[in-house]
Amino acid sequence: MPRLSWKTAAKIAWREGRASSVKFFFVILAVAAGVGALTGVRGFAASFKQLLLKEARTLMAADVSVRQFLLPNAEQQAKLAEFEKQGILRTWITETVTMAATERMPDPLLVSVKAVDPSEYPFYGEVVLKPAGLLAAVLTADQVAVSEDLLLRLQMKLGDTIKVGGIDFRAAAIVEKEPDRMAGSLNVGPRLMMSRAGLERTNLLRFGSRAAQRLLFKLPPEVKGPPDAVNAAKVEKIRLELKSTFPEAMVIDFRETHPLITRGLTRSTTFLSLVSLIALIVGAIGVAMAIHSHVQQRLDSIAIMKCLGANSTQVMRIYLLQTLALGLLGGLLGVLFGALIQAAFPLLIARYFQIAPDFRIDPSSVAQGILIGLLATVLFTAVPLLAVRHIRPILILRRDMSETRLPWRERLRRQWPALLAGVLILLGMAGIAGWLAEGNWRDSARLGLFFVGGLAFSLLLLSGAAWLLLWLLRRFQQHVPFWFPSALRHGIANLYRPGNQAGAVLVALGVGVMFTLTVYLVQQQMIGQLAASAPPGMPNVFLIDIQDSQKDALVKLLKAQQGVTREPEIVPAVAIRLKTVNGKALDQLELKGFERRFLQTRTVTWYDTKPDFVEMVSGNWLAGPNDVLINEDAAKALKAKRGTALQFDAYGRTINVQVVGTFKIEQVRMGSGVEFIFRKDQLAGLPLNYFGGVRVKTSQVAALQRASYRQFPTISVINVADVLDIIQEVVDQIAVVVRFISGFAIVAGIIILASSIAGTRFRRIREVAILKTLGGTRRRIAAIFSVEFLVLGALAGLLGGGLATGFSYLLMSRFFEAELGASLLPVIVAIVGSALIANVAGWLASSRILAQRPLRILRDE
């Protein structure tokens, strides 16, 4: 049985590889870009997770924490007192939003308030103040500590007076660091820390308040163990007790990472991993292109080997070994890049994460990155490797005659291994994407298929568009008049010379440009859309924490304000909990997904008479003392209808009612999401308040805020524009990180371009020799090549930019129901930028070509 041993195959592979080292070097770099991004992202995530676990106590500032949006009731207070008797220390943090203003800046600003007991908080970690000082000394009843940006926004300095909820405080220090900031409910926007005594002065914390309450617990240390050791079983017992005492709360202890942070980390890791995978796929396409062109250049060697008795499989060994070597070297180099990226990540996210993990290489991320790099490379190279089968040994004797044209059915039949390889590539990529996604296998599989479907679609679209562009260029070229500058004509013609891989380069570069630009366009458009015009009919100013006693006066004030274009919408609200439906407890109702919201406290409302905007879908309006109305969606979720008995728990009181009808409220109204309508008398004694919205001319919003703050300092008046600013800040930050990673796809694409140009080096050298012989100057020759590189880059930019515009339009209209404004500038920047970068890369890859002496080249023929 004839065989080409692996040893000989490796020998040939190695020596051929050395001869093509420049071209292969670029390809290794391209793979390294993708693997680097992947290992960097996942390495950082792994070390961040380690940090979350290691620093769990500091991040919580406690051993155990309980968080809910209700004040503890009497029963819960009693339970807390029992814990105290066990030696468990406790402290209480309240987080809410309110309005703050100064003399100099009377326009009130929405701020996040965090009220702590400075004599106990934090149990772990420390609060760093500027100027340095003890928290207990700074946070007296009439002093606060603020964030640096709050000072800027309110144009104040330390020592000035700030009015919070209508009460004066002295800004005594800047909060530089809080150990549990990430665990907090609101960690964006201007911040303010005060003592509990201070909070009481403001009257912000009233019965029925929906502010976030966090109870922190410090457990007593084990007697025999080291000072900080705590009995794990005791922790579990306490945790279970707390969970049963506070059923609506999120209870966390130091043995686990904070679920909210972890969830955010997991999702972002998955997303960024997939973006890195795109970069890696571009690199793998580059390897496939390099192997393809390499095989084409080795036709003679392959043919002679077949002449001498080697079969296709044996010949493929050589190029398979080269592929494996490229993938492995790219992977190893990528790991080095990944370490750099991992070190850079903390800088990117410094704004929101004040702690950074220690730099350590995560072996499993490294192994995963190298393996995925190798797998992707081998999968994509399957197609050019299979082409080796079709190299016929007769090429030795004759290359010029075209072959017998086979019928299309026969041609298709011969291509089945390549088609199978294509299917394997898709499945392989889906598998890799699924592996990178965190979560159960079903979710991962689905994500993998979506990813590969989207990618395959994009690649097909890119390939089709690239082909079309090149075809148009060729047609243009054929009709161009003679006086058209020759450098332009020759440069463009170079794009479709035999062996030039312009189409594949356009796709490789286009992917990165398309992805990065799509992210950018969506980000710009989304915020722009929301900021430019709130949907017609929607209020653009929200008011919260309106008390019953303030309601009428507030409405009067609002109506009297200039610029208020419509009747203000004020909605009554109280938060109570549904306990049973027709006597059955809620947890026996098999509620799924979003239906499970009924297990938590919900906001309900009341009206004495039917307002116009409430539409009765079935049944009658409230008549009897125990009547209640339920909205359509809630009725479906709870399987409730007329006659269904509902039992609610409201601050220790039981309310029994019966459904008499279902309703719906127009989407654009305030409170359209409310699910139950009661009568006011049914809710007597409960902490009733209101929230509302009003539509105001943009120029008059500040005046309205000032007027409302003067009269009602505890009512928060939120300008939607301010909220959007905060959202924009967060989105910008996220976008920076996403663009950083997707930039690697562009880098990979540029490397592919350089590699492809390097691959045609010898042909270019010959061309230069012939042109010089025929009278071409170096300048003219340089112009021809420059045109080729610039046009290639510009086409890639046009391709990527055009498709990005299309995709962002689709995303905006489908998911955000917004119109896409025409935005040519980013596309123009993409075209010009790509062209310039391609030119630089092309010349770097063509170094010293112009310096070759013609005779030496021609003689070597």
Binding site: M1, P2, R3, L4, S5, T8, K11, I12, R15, E16, A19, D300, S301, A303, I304, M305, K306, C307, L308, G309, A310, N311, S312, Q314, R392, P393, I394, I396, L397, R398, M401, S402, E403, T404, R405
Partner: protein
């Protein structure tokens, strides 16, 4: 008494080869019939475009006939699949080409060893490879790459390679075509000498009459047909 004719090692029957270029069909070989007895030196001659290289390609199993049959050393190769053809080539045919066709990334010794390795040979092959290289005068250049050898030297390596597996048939396509007179002469002498020593059947394609004069038999092609088939008269 007439001697028993030697068995045929090459049999060609009604051989045709057509090419479809898309716009029209070209018939390169229009029906050839001949046999080559074992041990004969046959020269195939003809002008450019006569079909001689195509014929050699078909005889060597490098190409597929449109019609007819070819039998090599008892094996009908007409409809064999590519891998089977590769095996036949490896076992039965040695090649010498006009442009040497050495693997550029293998040394002279490794190039000579290649057919032996492909045929599943053992370590003994190294000894034979070295002997062959000595015989062609390149004993001191065994570890040189093709790029380090002159044209004549490369063709000598190709010769050594062709005889490596002791094939029954040797096929040569213009073996001196790229060489000057002196080198060409040397190659021819080597070819003939090794051919005699190894007892191969030699099929040589050439347009050089001087070269063809050494053959036992000259088959001349014109326009895809055999126009003459002349045996050299024994001296």
């Amino acid at each position: 008494m007439k001697g028993v004719p030697p068995p045929s090692i090459v049999e060609v029957r009604a051989l045709k080869r057509r090419i479809d270029t898309g716009s029209h069909t070209v018939e390169i070989l229009k029906g050839l019939d001949f046999t080559v007895p074992t041990g004969q030196f046959v020269a195939i001659m003809g002008a450019s475009g006569s079909g001689k290289s195509t014929l050699l390609g078909l005889l060597a199993g490098l190409d597929t006939a449109s019609e007819g049959a070819i039998v090599l050393d008892g094996v009908d190769i007409t409809n064999l699949a590519e891998d089977a053809l590769a095996q036949v080539r490896g076992r039965k045919i040695g090649f010498v080409f006009q442009s040497y066709q050495l693997i550029p990334t293998l040394t002279a010794e490794e190039n000579v060893l290649l057919p032996h390795e492909l045929a599943g040979g053992d370590a003994q092959g190294v000894t034979r490879a070295r002997e062959l290289l000595e015989r062609v005068g390149l004993g001191a250049r065994m570890d040189h790459y093709p790029v380090q050898l002159s044209g004549g030297e490369q063709q000598r390596v190709a010769l050594a390679r062709a005889f490596m597996t002791r094939p029954p048939i040797l096929m040569a396509d213009e073996p001196t075509g790229n060489l000057d007179t002196v080198n060409g002469r040397q190659i021819l002498d080597l070819l003939l000498e090794m051919n005699q020593r190894e007892h191969t059947t030699l099929v040589l394609v050439t347009h050089d009459h001087e070269l063809a004069a050494y053959a036992d038999r000259i088959i001349t092609l014109r326009d895809g047909l055999i126009v003459s088939d002349v045996m050299k008269v024994a001296a």
